[in-house]
Point group: C2
Chain length 347, copies 2
């Protein structure tokens, strides 16, 4: 496992994307966000995805010169047409718009259609933090791996949700979760690493545990809390997909097997301006206080300390900014092949 500096990683993704035909500014923006995903430890959502993205781009499945635009709008709301752009560009725009609007209205909600996979939900939920706002993001996942509870037809994705809330001296509290026990990206990573999956991630169509990631297509991911996780995935899918005129249910395109059909991915992003509710400094101290309460809890046998949502990612971020992002040998090899295909310098 060799470590790569964030700058090296960004520069590599940037040249790969420019070689694919992206305008410089867009390549830089996507490269920055993908690197940020890797820095924060979202290993299944960063440069790991680059070969898949490039495959889709070179197959014509992503528009590299998109016209991302608002097609419906009210004071605290907008609907974006992503014009089949990289999801990173669409959702960065959605975050910007929601932050801008929330300054006046207290909250703003921006939905998107004709978008694509945008990497980890935390990236976008975290954007309002710098503006003393709370961020809320959800997406329809790009492949159905979950049946409705009690069913066996794969009609739902892992539809993730992320919520980011700023603290004062403490790190932000940032929940980023799939509505399944494990995200599908983790299954793909286990497969690439040749590892078995723990019991509880997937079951087969008879409900028996499925632990071999190579057999993933024979089973499905388990929603958290059974019927509740199914319900959450469904509601988030209706909010992020159906409401925005984006794909949901049987219309979802599995972007790991189909590299051509536009995914019509749906996402939404909301920003809440803290100053509309509270004194910002006081609120942040209150969040720190809650953080400290959780952290100060006595623990169950075998648990060293309680963790907060986003704490691990925050700590990984500090480490990786200093020491670089670890790139496993199989991934390094795949990126090397990709560099050669694109005719750009390797990582």
């Amino acid at each position: 496992m060799s470590n790569v500096s964030p700058e090296q990683l960004t520069a590599f993704i940037d040249r790969a994307l420019r070689a694919c035909g992206f305008p410089d500014a867009d390549a830089a923006k996507v490269a920055g966000l993908m690197t940020e995903a890797d820095i924060r430890g979202s290993d299944g959502h960063g440069v790991f995805r680059l070969p898949m993205y490039v495959k889709r781009i070179s197959s014509g499945g992503i528009n590299v010169r998109p016209n991302i635009r608002i097609i419906k709008e009210r004071k605290a709301q907008a609907l974006l047409d992503g014009d089949n752009a990289m999801g990173h560009l669409v959702m960065a725009r959605a975050a910007e718009i929601s932050i801008q609007k929330a300054k006046e209205t207290g909250i703003a909600w921006v939905g998107a259609r004709s978008s694509n996979h945008a990497g980890p939900a935390a990236l976008y939920a975290g954007m309002p933090l710098a503006h003393d706002m709370i961020g809320l993001y959800a997406a329809v996942g790009n492949g159905n791996h979950v049946p409705p509870w009690g069913g066996v037809d794969l009609l739902l994705s892992t539809n993730p949700i992320a919520i980011a809330i700023p603290g004062d001296k403490r790190p932000p509290i940032l929940l980023d979760m799939a509505t399944t026990t494990a995200a599908y990206g983790k299954v793909k990573m286990a497969q690439q690493r040749g590892e078995q999956m723990p019991v509880g991630w997937m079951v087969d169509r008879k409900g028996e545990p499925l632990t071999d990631p190579n057999r993933a297509s024979e089973g499905f991911l388990m929603p958290i809390g059974g019927a509740k996780g199914y319900g959450l995935a469904l509601m988030l899918g209706l909010l992020a997909g159906t409401l925005n005129g984006a794909a949901m249910g049987k219309d979802v395109v599995d972007f790991t097997t189909d590299h051509v059909t536009p995914t019509n991915t749906g996402q939404f992003m909301a920003s809440l301006d803290i100053s509309a509710f509270a004194d910002v400094a006081e609120f942040k101290r209150d969040v720190d206080d809650v953080y400290g309460q959780m952290k100060g809890s006595a623990t169950m046998a075998g648990v060293s300390e309680v963790r907060l949502p986003g704490e691990s990612a925050w700590n990984i971020g500090i480490e990786r900014r200093a020491k670089g992002v670890p790139v496993p040998p199989e991934l390094a090899k795949a990126l090397d092949v990709l560099a050669k295909e694109l005719g750009v310098a390797g990582l």
Copy 2:
């Protein structure tokens, strides 16, 4: 088990509340909402709660002549001070305001502090439906029964969330879930009925299953999906509680044991105007289509059909509107005692 008509039930709650000193309009409003909870099958949140409410009211723990008012406001947002009113009154007001504002702004979000227990989340999330809007509600629960994941200190409540989305010919899809495997109201009901709890609802401080509801104080409720459910409960608590200046964490008052201290309950309510995003009729047909897809899924062995969130409550509602609300003997007895105490005619 005897059945009581919704009208009888409403009239009984209404006279009980008027006997407690509520103005007529407020008594009628709360009685209507509590009855609606029973009609929809939220047996732990309807008239079952009346003796507890009355105990708190008569102990001075609830303000029967409140001045519920907006204390901060922007175009798409408001913060309500509930003045320690019954939560039903505060959240009905919050729903009204969010619906009114969303007509202009596309979405609106109303937070509340100094509120109280408001019954089932579904009641409020469902209010925007009649206005062709989507409803979103969350609350800080009134008693901490959940530790942070890996911890044993009870610092979190079951913080529920509800989302309601209207269909065309199909019933609305309405998710109303605690972020724990079971809501605490279900534990209280099992206790009252002398029933054991299933494994998975609660564990003791060593992590062993706890199934005797009389021992509930020795253990805690299990969050859905382990760390994820803890994360959700925490974020909803920060959004519904901390952001609004309401109780969260160690400040939460357990209203089953403390009948005097103001609970400073926090909740929020958001409404999304569908017409800001889509053609309303078309959207509703799309929701029906998703409903039908889920319903049409092949099922696992032993499952007769897939259910949608809110489907059971909808069907129970149809049955109970026609045949009345079943009142178990222990509850009937408790309500009889209550009626005598208050000097009003019994149920």
